[in-house]
Symmetry: C2
Subunit: 258 residues, 2 copies
DNA sequence: AAACACCGTTCCATATTATGGAACGTACGG
DNA sequence: CCGTACGTTCCATAATATGGAACGGTGTTT
């Protein structure tokens, strides 16, 4: 076959990704219709995946849905990240101090990927999700992560951005984003001023490792009345403190960055 | 080919599961050796998986490891569980009240699968993991989950248990486990008295839904000096209270079971 | 109660794909 | 500088996955 894929694998992954957004599961025929696959093909792939726990049947309706094996594999992958393991208790402490959701993210391509999310006790806001991505140009986390790139790498990354205007305040030019990144680098913290989600502001600070490189970023986010602009320096202070503690834990010695 | 599987899919899943326990990733040749696959086959499958984010290359060494796509899919699956979404804030409250790790689990076959895990701020104990399984016969969660089965279904389940002695206190006969389950049913809470992990005790209580059926269990666990035997009734009280609140949230009306 | 429609499941001839052997380029160690 | 091992690519062909047909079961309609 053409291209880089393997047909059976691509079909199976298509099924998996389809079911990952279908809360109530789907039947064989419906999966086949949505993915333009013969139902006997679908059935065979589902059976194979089910045999290993990646797919399960709904108890009542018989619909197929993702199995909990994905949860297990996802957790195993997350726990391979030493950074996350080391950072968790600092993040919990920050969440309780600030009383707002706290995230840890790493850079993947042109996105920040959430690898930890701590909600304070009273919080029930569920927008972000571990494993999800947010574009670098309109997130505090993303700007911090980009601030760790070398000049050439940064320009290359900026050149690759395809802008989507999420809110009235979304930055949509390379120049604006570059300026924000430089500001993040200078201050030691980055800002999302309702650029990704209207009404939501976010402050992040970078985490470094023993080589001095930026490997992650920590953020606090919340309603613009809670993460109020007039208290940004104060909020940024506690975020930077937490990021510094995690950095230290990862072997970073202040002053060693390039 | 023979059996229920699909060869390409089984090979890809073998690679995925191998990498899920290899923190530093592996090379093509090494994967091939471990799975008895030709390196050109391995390379093709890795490339196909990498193209969709399920595999990534280590920045430095070039080793292959799982991609963060698994984290995303795992989180999407978890978030499809309405129970988990609804329960999270109650569990956080319980963790802070008791100051010990709290879990939520559901029944899958003869295991309790952790679908939520809350560590209090100061805790760094990392034994359990979301997505992991613990056998029903030697866990408080498992005994609570089994207590919701009908008589025939329970006997069938008990007949299927293959006992492993984890500690000196592990129950290893069907009679002992049946007695524990009946005790859990009578009291409204179940106990793991160092049966799975030496020195660790655990108290759990079942969660019901609007049909009155047991759909999950909540637990608190910790060192036997902290979850001390002489205070079990007290600890159980707060666990049952949390389980009752979650049950209520899931539409359960007290008195409607059976 | 019978007929109909649709779904999930199974089987198998064959079309199509995945395989693995050979070869190549690169990087690392001696 | 040379040898070794790894990752990568290509392609003839062996082996597998496909999908068409058929079946049983369930729910709905007449």
């Amino acid at each position: 076959m053409e291209g880089k894929g393997v047909q059976v694998l691509d079909r199976a992954l298509d099924i998996i990704e389809l079911l990952s957004v279908e809360r109530d599961g789907l039947g064989v025929t419906e999966i086949g219709l949505k993915l333009d696959l013969h139902k006997s093909t679908v059935h065979r792939l589902l059976s194979a995946l089910a045999g290993r726990g990646y797919i399960e049947r709904d108890d009542n309706r018989g619909a197929y849905r993702l199995g909990l094996k994905f949860v297990e594999i996802g957790s195993l992958r997350l726990n391979q990240l030493e950074l996350k393991t080391e950072a968790s208790s600092y993040l919990r402490r920050l969440a309780n101090t600030v009383g707002q959701p706290v995230h840890l993210a790493i850079l993947r391509g042109l996105d920040a990927v959430y690898i930890e999310k701590i909600d304070p006790v009273a919080s029930i806001r569920m927008y972000s999700q571990i494993g999800k991505r947010i574009p670098v140009y309109c997130s505090a986390l993303g700007k911090c992560l980009l601030s760790g790139l070398g000049k050439d790498e940064l320009e290359s990354a900026l050149a690759g951005i395809e802008f989507t205007r999420f809110t009235a305040k979304t930055k949509t030019t390379v120049g604006e984003v570059r300026a924000d990144i430089e500001g993040a680098k200078r201050r030691g913290w980055g800002l999302d001023d309702e650029e990704h989600e209207a009404g939501i502001r976010c402050i992040a600070s970078p985490v470094r490792d023993y080589t001095g490189r930026i490997i992650a970023a920590v953020s606090v986010s919340g309603d613009r009345r809670v993460i109020a602009a007039d208290r940004d320096e104060e909020t940024a202070g506690v975020v930077m403190e937490t990021a510094a503690e995690i950095s230290k834990r990862m072997g970073y010695v202040p002053g060693m960055e390039e």
